[in-house]
Protein backbone atom coordinates (compact mmCIF):
# COMPACT_ATOMS: atom_id res chain seq x y z
CA UNK A 1 0.00 0.00 0.00
CA UNK A 2 2.75 2.45 1.05
CA UNK A 3 4.82 1.43 -1.90
CA UNK A 4 2.00 1.80 -4.39
CA UNK A 5 1.14 5.26 -3.02
CA UNK A 6 4.76 6.43 -3.22
CA UNK A 7 5.21 5.00 -6.66
CA UNK A 8 2.20 7.03 -7.84
CA UNK A 9 3.62 10.20 -6.23
CA UNK A 10 6.96 9.57 -7.91
CA UNK A 11 5.34 9.10 -11.32
CA UNK A 12 3.38 12.36 -10.85
CA UNK A 13 6.60 14.19 -9.97
CA UNK A 14 8.36 12.78 -13.04
CA UNK A 15 5.47 13.93 -15.22
CA UNK A 16 5.55 17.38 -13.62
CA UNK A 17 9.27 17.78 -14.41
CA UNK A 18 8.66 16.61 -17.98
CA UNK A 19 6.21 19.46 -18.61
CA UNK A 20 9.20 21.69 -19.41
CA UNK A 21 9.43 19.82 -22.71
CA UNK A 22 6.62 20.55 -25.12
CA UNK A 23 4.51 17.41 -25.14
CA UNK A 24 4.00 17.69 -28.88
CA UNK A 25 7.75 17.29 -29.44
CA UNK A 26 9.00 13.88 -30.50
CA UNK A 27 11.74 14.35 -27.87
CA UNK A 28 9.03 14.23 -25.20
CA UNK A 29 7.69 10.99 -26.68
CA UNK A 30 11.14 9.39 -26.89
CA UNK A 31 12.07 10.34 -23.33
CA UNK A 32 8.67 9.09 -22.20
CA UNK A 33 9.42 5.85 -24.01
CA UNK A 34 12.77 5.52 -22.20
CA UNK A 35 11.17 6.23 -18.82
CA UNK A 36 8.30 3.86 -19.55
CA UNK A 37 10.71 1.07 -20.45
CA UNK A 38 12.70 1.61 -17.24
CA UNK A 39 9.47 1.96 -15.27
CA UNK A 40 8.02 -1.21 -16.68
CA UNK A 41 11.17 -3.11 -15.80
CA UNK A 42 10.98 -1.60 -12.32
CA UNK A 43 7.42 -2.80 -11.80
CA UNK A 44 8.06 -6.20 -13.35
CA UNK A 45 11.31 -7.08 -11.67
CA UNK A 46 10.45 -6.54 -8.07
CA UNK A 47 8.04 -5.39 -5.45
CA UNK A 48 10.78 -3.24 -3.91
CA UNK A 49 12.04 -0.91 -6.63
CA UNK A 50 15.30 0.85 -5.78
CA UNK A 51 13.81 4.24 -6.75
CA UNK A 52 11.80 4.23 -3.51
CA UNK A 53 14.96 4.00 -1.37
CA UNK A 54 15.26 7.79 -0.76
CA UNK A 55 11.64 7.81 0.44
CA UNK A 56 12.07 4.80 2.72
CA UNK A 57 15.22 6.31 4.23
CA UNK A 58 13.70 9.76 4.67
CA UNK A 59 10.60 8.37 6.36
CA UNK A 60 12.72 6.23 8.68
CA UNK A 61 14.46 9.39 9.90
CA UNK A 62 11.68 11.95 10.24
CA UNK A 63 8.42 10.02 9.82
CA UNK A 64 7.43 11.44 6.43
CA UNK A 65 8.79 11.14 2.93
CA UNK A 66 6.99 13.57 0.61
CA UNK A 67 9.95 15.97 0.70
CA UNK A 68 12.17 13.26 -0.83
CA UNK A 69 9.99 12.82 -3.93
CA UNK A 70 11.89 15.40 -6.07
CA UNK A 71 15.28 13.83 -5.37
CA UNK A 72 13.85 10.36 -6.01
CA UNK A 73 12.63 11.64 -9.40
CA UNK A 74 16.07 13.14 -10.08
CA UNK A 75 17.82 9.85 -9.33
CA UNK A 76 15.35 8.08 -11.58
CA UNK A 77 16.21 10.46 -14.46
CA UNK A 78 19.93 9.87 -13.83
CA UNK A 79 19.46 6.12 -13.88
CA UNK A 80 17.43 6.13 -17.10
CA UNK A 81 20.07 8.39 -18.71
CA UNK A 82 22.86 6.09 -17.52
CA UNK A 83 21.04 3.04 -18.92
CA UNK A 84 20.62 4.74 -22.32
CA UNK A 85 24.31 5.68 -22.44
CA UNK A 86 25.26 2.17 -21.30
CA UNK A 87 23.20 0.61 -24.10
CA UNK A 88 24.88 2.89 -26.65
CA UNK A 89 28.34 1.99 -25.34
CA UNK A 90 27.68 -1.74 -25.10
CA UNK A 91 25.47 -2.09 -28.22
CA UNK A 92 24.15 -5.33 -26.72
CA UNK A 93 20.42 -4.71 -26.51
CA UNK A 94 17.91 -5.02 -29.31
CA UNK A 95 15.12 -3.18 -27.47
CA UNK A 96 17.13 -0.20 -26.21
CA UNK A 97 16.34 3.39 -27.16
CA UNK A 98 19.47 3.50 -29.35
CA UNK A 99 18.47 0.31 -31.16
CA UNK A 100 15.03 1.75 -31.89
CA UNK A 101 15.77 5.42 -32.65
CA UNK A 102 19.50 5.35 -33.45
CA UNK A 103 22.50 6.53 -31.42
CA UNK A 104 22.27 10.31 -32.09
CA UNK A 105 18.63 10.51 -30.96
CA UNK A 106 19.33 8.31 -27.94
CA UNK A 107 22.37 10.41 -26.93
CA UNK A 108 20.29 13.57 -27.09
CA UNK A 109 17.49 11.99 -25.04
CA UNK A 110 19.97 10.84 -22.37
CA UNK A 111 21.58 14.29 -22.25
CA UNK A 112 18.14 15.85 -21.77
CA UNK A 113 17.46 13.42 -18.92
CA UNK A 114 20.64 14.59 -17.14
CA UNK A 115 19.37 18.18 -17.32
CA UNK A 116 15.90 17.12 -16.16
CA UNK A 117 17.56 15.45 -13.17
CA UNK A 118 19.14 18.77 -12.19
CA UNK A 119 15.77 20.49 -12.54
CA UNK A 120 14.14 17.78 -10.42
CA UNK A 121 16.60 18.25 -7.56
CA UNK A 122 15.93 22.00 -7.59
CA UNK A 123 12.20 21.30 -7.15
CA UNK A 124 13.06 20.20 -3.59
CA UNK A 125 12.76 23.88 -2.68
CA UNK A 126 8.98 23.57 -3.22
CA UNK A 127 8.96 20.91 -0.48
CA UNK A 128 10.57 23.29 2.00
CA UNK A 129 14.11 21.96 1.70
CA UNK A 130 16.61 24.79 2.40
CA UNK A 131 18.69 26.03 -0.55
CA UNK A 132 21.95 25.12 1.19
CA UNK A 133 20.75 21.52 1.63
CA UNK A 134 19.83 21.38 -2.08
CA UNK A 135 23.28 22.69 -3.01
CA UNK A 136 24.93 20.09 -0.78
CA UNK A 137 22.66 17.39 -2.21
CA UNK A 138 23.64 18.38 -5.76
CA UNK A 139 27.32 18.10 -4.84
CA UNK A 140 26.76 14.68 -3.24
CA UNK A 141 24.76 13.31 -6.18
CA UNK A 142 27.30 14.65 -8.70
CA UNK A 143 30.08 12.98 -6.71
CA UNK A 144 28.36 9.59 -6.95
CA UNK A 145 27.70 9.90 -10.66
CA UNK A 146 31.29 10.96 -11.36
CA UNK A 147 32.26 7.78 -9.53
CA UNK A 148 29.80 5.83 -11.69
CA UNK A 149 31.44 7.30 -14.81
CA UNK A 150 34.85 6.21 -13.46
CA UNK A 151 33.46 2.70 -12.98
CA UNK A 152 32.00 2.67 -16.48
CA UNK A 153 35.33 3.85 -17.89
CA UNK A 154 37.20 1.08 -16.09
CA UNK A 155 34.63 -1.43 -17.35
CA UNK A 156 34.92 -0.25 -20.97
CA UNK A 157 38.72 -0.08 -20.78
CA UNK A 158 38.85 -3.62 -19.36
CA UNK A 159 37.73 -5.11 -22.70
CA UNK A 160 41.29 -4.51 -23.92
CA UNK A 161 42.76 -5.98 -20.77
CA UNK A 162 41.00 -9.35 -20.82
CA UNK A 163 39.68 -11.04 -17.70
CA UNK A 164 39.64 -8.95 -14.55
CA UNK A 165 40.60 -10.24 -11.12
CA UNK A 166 37.73 -10.55 -8.66
CA UNK A 167 39.09 -7.56 -6.77
CA UNK A 168 39.09 -5.40 -9.92
CA UNK A 169 35.61 -6.59 -10.84
CA UNK A 170 34.22 -5.76 -7.39
CA UNK A 171 35.90 -2.34 -7.51
CA UNK A 172 34.15 -1.58 -10.80
CA UNK A 173 30.86 -2.95 -9.47
CA UNK A 174 31.17 -0.73 -6.40
CA UNK A 175 31.70 2.39 -8.52
CA UNK A 176 29.38 1.63 -11.40
CA UNK A 177 26.46 -0.23 -9.86
CA UNK A 178 26.38 0.06 -6.07
CA UNK A 179 26.52 3.82 -6.53
CA UNK A 180 22.82 3.97 -7.43
CA UNK A 181 21.62 2.50 -4.14
CA UNK A 182 24.34 4.23 -2.13
CA UNK A 183 23.44 7.62 -3.61
CA UNK A 184 19.71 7.00 -3.09
CA UNK A 185 20.27 6.22 0.61
CA UNK A 186 22.67 9.14 1.13
CA UNK A 187 20.26 11.57 -0.57
CA UNK A 188 17.30 10.28 1.47
CA UNK A 189 19.31 10.75 4.67
CA UNK A 190 20.23 14.34 3.76
CA UNK A 191 16.63 15.25 2.90
CA UNK A 192 15.47 13.65 6.16
CA UNK A 193 18.00 15.89 7.94
CA UNK A 194 19.76 12.99 9.65
CA UNK A 195 22.74 13.61 11.93
CA UNK A 196 26.10 13.05 10.25
CA UNK A 197 26.71 9.71 12.03
CA UNK A 198 23.37 8.34 10.79
CA UNK A 199 24.05 9.67 7.27
CA UNK A 200 27.30 7.67 7.26
CA UNK A 201 25.60 4.51 8.50
CA UNK A 202 22.76 4.71 5.98
CA UNK A 203 25.18 5.44 3.13
CA UNK A 204 27.15 2.32 4.03
CA UNK A 205 23.87 0.40 4.13
CA UNK A 206 23.17 1.61 0.58
CA UNK A 207 26.58 0.48 -0.63
CA UNK A 208 26.12 -3.06 0.69
CA UNK A 209 22.57 -3.23 -0.64
CA UNK A 210 23.77 -2.05 -4.06
CA UNK A 211 26.56 -4.63 -4.16
CA UNK A 212 24.06 -7.35 -3.25
CA UNK A 213 21.66 -6.16 -5.97
CA UNK A 214 24.34 -6.21 -8.65
CA UNK A 215 25.59 -9.67 -7.70
CA UNK A 216 21.98 -10.91 -7.80
CA UNK A 217 21.87 -9.51 -11.34
CA UNK A 218 25.00 -11.53 -12.17
CA UNK A 219 23.32 -14.71 -10.92
CA UNK A 220 20.17 -13.95 -12.89
CA UNK A 221 22.25 -13.42 -16.04
CA UNK A 222 23.53 -17.00 -15.77
CA UNK A 223 20.29 -18.60 -14.60
CA UNK A 224 18.37 -17.10 -17.54
CA UNK A 225 21.31 -17.40 -19.93
CA UNK A 226 21.37 -13.76 -21.11
CA UNK A 227 24.94 -13.08 -19.94
CA UNK A 228 26.15 -16.44 -21.27
CA UNK A 229 24.81 -15.68 -24.75
CA UNK A 230 26.68 -12.35 -24.85
CA UNK A 231 29.83 -13.86 -23.23
CA UNK A 232 29.62 -11.23 -20.52
CA UNK A 233 32.25 -11.75 -17.83
CA UNK A 234 30.58 -11.43 -14.47
CA UNK A 235 31.43 -12.69 -10.98
CA UNK A 236 30.49 -16.38 -11.50
CA UNK A 237 32.59 -16.50 -14.67
CA UNK A 238 35.57 -14.88 -12.93
CA UNK A 239 35.29 -17.48 -10.15
CA UNK A 240 35.12 -20.32 -12.67
CA UNK A 241 38.03 -19.00 -14.77
CA UNK A 242 40.10 -18.64 -11.60
CA UNK A 243 39.39 -22.00 -10.01
CA UNK A 244 38.66 -24.54 -12.74
CA UNK A 245 41.22 -26.78 -14.41
CA UNK A 246 41.40 -29.18 -17.35
CA UNK A 247 38.65 -29.30 -19.94
CA UNK A 248 36.30 -26.95 -18.04
CA UNK A 249 38.98 -24.25 -18.04
CA UNK A 250 39.75 -24.84 -21.72
CA UNK A 251 36.09 -24.44 -22.71
CA UNK A 252 35.64 -21.31 -20.58
CA UNK A 253 38.82 -19.79 -22.00
CA UNK A 254 37.57 -20.44 -25.52
CA UNK A 255 34.22 -18.82 -24.83
CA UNK A 256 35.25 -15.87 -22.67
CA UNK A 257 38.88 -15.05 -23.48
CA UNK A 258 39.63 -16.24 -26.98
CA UNK A 259 36.05 -15.44 -28.08
CA UNK A 260 35.99 -18.55 -30.21
CA UNK A 261 32.74 -20.18 -31.14
CA UNK A 262 32.12 -22.34 -28.09
CA UNK A 263 31.42 -26.00 -28.76
CA UNK A 264 29.00 -25.85 -25.83
CA UNK A 265 25.47 -24.53 -25.83
CA UNK A 266 24.34 -21.86 -23.38
CA UNK A 267 22.67 -24.51 -21.23
CA UNK A 268 25.91 -26.51 -21.02
CA UNK A 269 27.96 -23.49 -19.91
CA UNK A 270 25.24 -22.72 -17.39
CA UNK A 271 25.44 -26.28 -16.03
CA UNK A 272 29.22 -25.94 -15.80
CA UNK A 273 28.91 -22.74 -13.77
CA UNK A 274 26.62 -24.53 -11.34
CA UNK A 275 28.68 -27.74 -11.23
CA UNK A 276 31.96 -25.96 -10.49
CA UNK A 277 30.46 -24.05 -7.55
CA UNK A 278 30.64 -20.70 -9.37
CA UNK A 279 26.96 -19.98 -8.75
CA UNK A 280 27.18 -21.21 -5.14
CA UNK A 281 30.11 -18.86 -4.56
CA UNK A 282 28.29 -15.94 -6.18
CA UNK A 283 25.20 -16.55 -4.05
CA UNK A 284 27.40 -16.55 -0.94
CA UNK A 285 28.98 -13.25 -1.96
CA UNK A 286 25.50 -11.75 -2.51
CA UNK A 287 24.32 -13.10 0.82
CA UNK A 288 27.43 -11.73 2.59
CA UNK A 289 26.56 -8.21 1.39
CA UNK A 290 22.95 -8.75 2.46
CA UNK A 291 24.13 -9.82 5.93
CA UNK A 292 26.35 -6.72 6.13
CA UNK A 293 23.37 -4.56 5.20
CA UNK A 294 21.26 -6.23 7.91
CA UNK A 295 23.96 -5.60 10.54
CA UNK A 296 24.29 -1.97 9.46
CA UNK A 297 20.52 -1.51 9.65
CA UNK A 298 20.66 -2.63 13.29
CA UNK A 299 23.28 0.07 13.93
CA UNK A 300 20.99 2.62 12.26
CA UNK A 301 18.16 1.52 14.56
CA UNK A 302 20.42 2.21 17.54
CA UNK A 303 20.75 5.77 16.19
CA UNK A 304 16.96 6.15 16.31
CA UNK A 305 16.24 5.13 12.71
CA UNK A 306 12.93 3.39 11.97
CA UNK A 307 13.85 0.61 9.52
CA UNK A 308 10.32 -0.65 8.83
CA UNK A 309 10.29 0.52 5.19
CA UNK A 310 13.73 -0.89 4.45
CA UNK A 311 13.23 -4.38 5.82
CA UNK A 312 11.30 -5.62 2.76
CA UNK A 313 14.37 -4.79 0.63
CA UNK A 314 16.28 -7.36 2.66
CA UNK A 315 13.45 -9.83 3.12
CA UNK A 316 13.55 -9.43 6.89
CA UNK A 317 10.66 -8.89 9.28
Amino acid sequence: MWQSKQFTSLKEEIEAVLTCINNTDSLYRIIGDGIERAGLKCLRSSNQPWCLLPLAICEGICGRCDQAIPVAAALYFYRVAADIFDDIEDQDSSDSLSAIYGDPIAINAATTLLILAQKAINRSVDKGIPAETILHLTEVVNGYYINACRGQHLDLASYEKGVLSEEEYMDITGKKSATTAQCACHAGALIGNAKSRLVEVLTLFGYNLGMGFQIADDIDGVVHGSDIKTHKITLPVIYALTTTEGNDKKVLNQAYIEHEESPLKTSQIKDMLFRTGAIQYTILRMESYRQCAIDILRKAEQEGFNSQRLKPFLEIR
Binding site: A38, K41, C42, S45, S46, Q48, P49, W50, D83, E166, E167, M170, S177, T180, G212, F213, Q214, I215, A216, D217, I219, D220, V223, Y239, T242, T243, K270, D271, F274, R275, T276, G277, I279, Q280, Y281, I283, L284, R285, M286, E287, S288, Y289, R290, Q291, C292, D295, F313, L314, E315
Partner: protein, 72 residues
Protein backbone atom coordinates in the same frame (compact mmCIF):
# COMPACT_ATOMS: atom_id res chain seq x y z
CA UNK B 1 35.34 -7.72 2.70
CA UNK B 2 37.66 -10.77 2.60
CA UNK B 3 37.04 -13.24 -0.20
CA UNK B 4 39.91 -15.73 -0.33
CA UNK B 5 38.63 -17.98 2.45
CA UNK B 6 35.14 -18.10 0.99
CA UNK B 7 36.54 -19.05 -2.39
CA UNK B 8 38.66 -21.78 -0.78
CA UNK B 9 35.64 -23.16 1.08
CA UNK B 10 33.50 -23.39 -2.07
CA UNK B 11 36.38 -24.88 -4.07
CA UNK B 12 36.97 -27.55 -1.43
CA UNK B 13 33.28 -28.42 -1.06
CA UNK B 14 32.72 -28.72 -4.82
CA UNK B 15 35.92 -30.63 -5.55
CA UNK B 16 36.22 -32.99 -2.62
CA UNK B 17 33.38 -35.47 -2.10
CA UNK B 18 34.35 -36.14 1.54
CA UNK B 19 34.25 -32.41 2.39
CA UNK B 20 30.99 -32.06 0.48
CA UNK B 21 29.37 -34.83 2.54
CA UNK B 22 30.69 -33.28 5.78
CA UNK B 23 29.45 -29.85 4.73
CA UNK B 24 25.98 -31.15 3.94
CA UNK B 25 25.65 -32.86 7.31
CA UNK B 26 27.51 -30.34 9.48
CA UNK B 27 28.27 -27.00 7.82
CA UNK B 28 29.31 -25.38 11.11
CA UNK B 29 32.17 -27.82 11.56
CA UNK B 30 33.42 -27.38 8.00
CA UNK B 31 33.31 -23.57 8.02
CA UNK B 32 35.30 -23.54 11.28
CA UNK B 33 38.29 -24.73 9.21
CA UNK B 34 38.26 -21.54 7.14
CA UNK B 35 38.98 -17.95 8.19
CA UNK B 36 35.62 -16.56 7.19
CA UNK B 37 34.35 -13.18 8.36
CA UNK B 38 31.23 -13.13 10.55
CA UNK B 39 29.09 -11.99 7.60
CA UNK B 40 30.49 -14.80 5.45
CA UNK B 41 29.72 -17.37 8.14
CA UNK B 42 26.15 -16.11 8.39
CA UNK B 43 25.90 -16.11 4.59
CA UNK B 44 27.07 -19.73 4.35
CA UNK B 45 24.71 -20.95 7.07
CA UNK B 46 21.71 -18.95 5.80
CA UNK B 47 22.26 -20.16 2.25
CA UNK B 48 22.78 -23.73 3.43
CA UNK B 49 19.47 -23.61 5.32
CA UNK B 50 17.55 -22.12 2.38
CA UNK B 51 19.17 -23.80 -0.61
CA UNK B 52 21.78 -26.37 0.35
CA UNK B 53 24.20 -26.80 -2.54
CA UNK B 54 22.57 -25.28 -5.60
CA UNK B 55 22.21 -27.00 -8.94
CA UNK B 56 20.85 -25.61 -12.20
CA UNK B 57 17.54 -27.25 -11.33
CA UNK B 58 17.28 -25.75 -7.82
CA UNK B 59 13.67 -24.76 -7.33
CA UNK B 60 14.38 -22.46 -4.40
CA UNK B 61 16.96 -20.30 -6.17
CA UNK B 62 14.43 -17.64 -7.18
CA UNK B 63 13.24 -17.26 -3.60
CA UNK B 64 16.78 -16.29 -2.53
CA UNK B 65 17.93 -14.27 -5.53
CA UNK B 66 14.54 -12.84 -6.60
CA UNK B 67 14.09 -10.41 -3.69
CA UNK B 68 17.52 -8.91 -4.44
CA UNK B 69 16.61 -8.32 -8.08
CA UNK B 70 15.51 -4.73 -7.71
CA UNK B 71 17.53 -2.89 -10.34
CA UNK B 72 15.79 -0.91 -13.06
Amino acid sequence: MATGALQELVKKVFRDEKTKAEFISNPNEVISRFSLTEEEKKAVLTTHAKLGLVTSGSQQLDTVVGPMMIWH
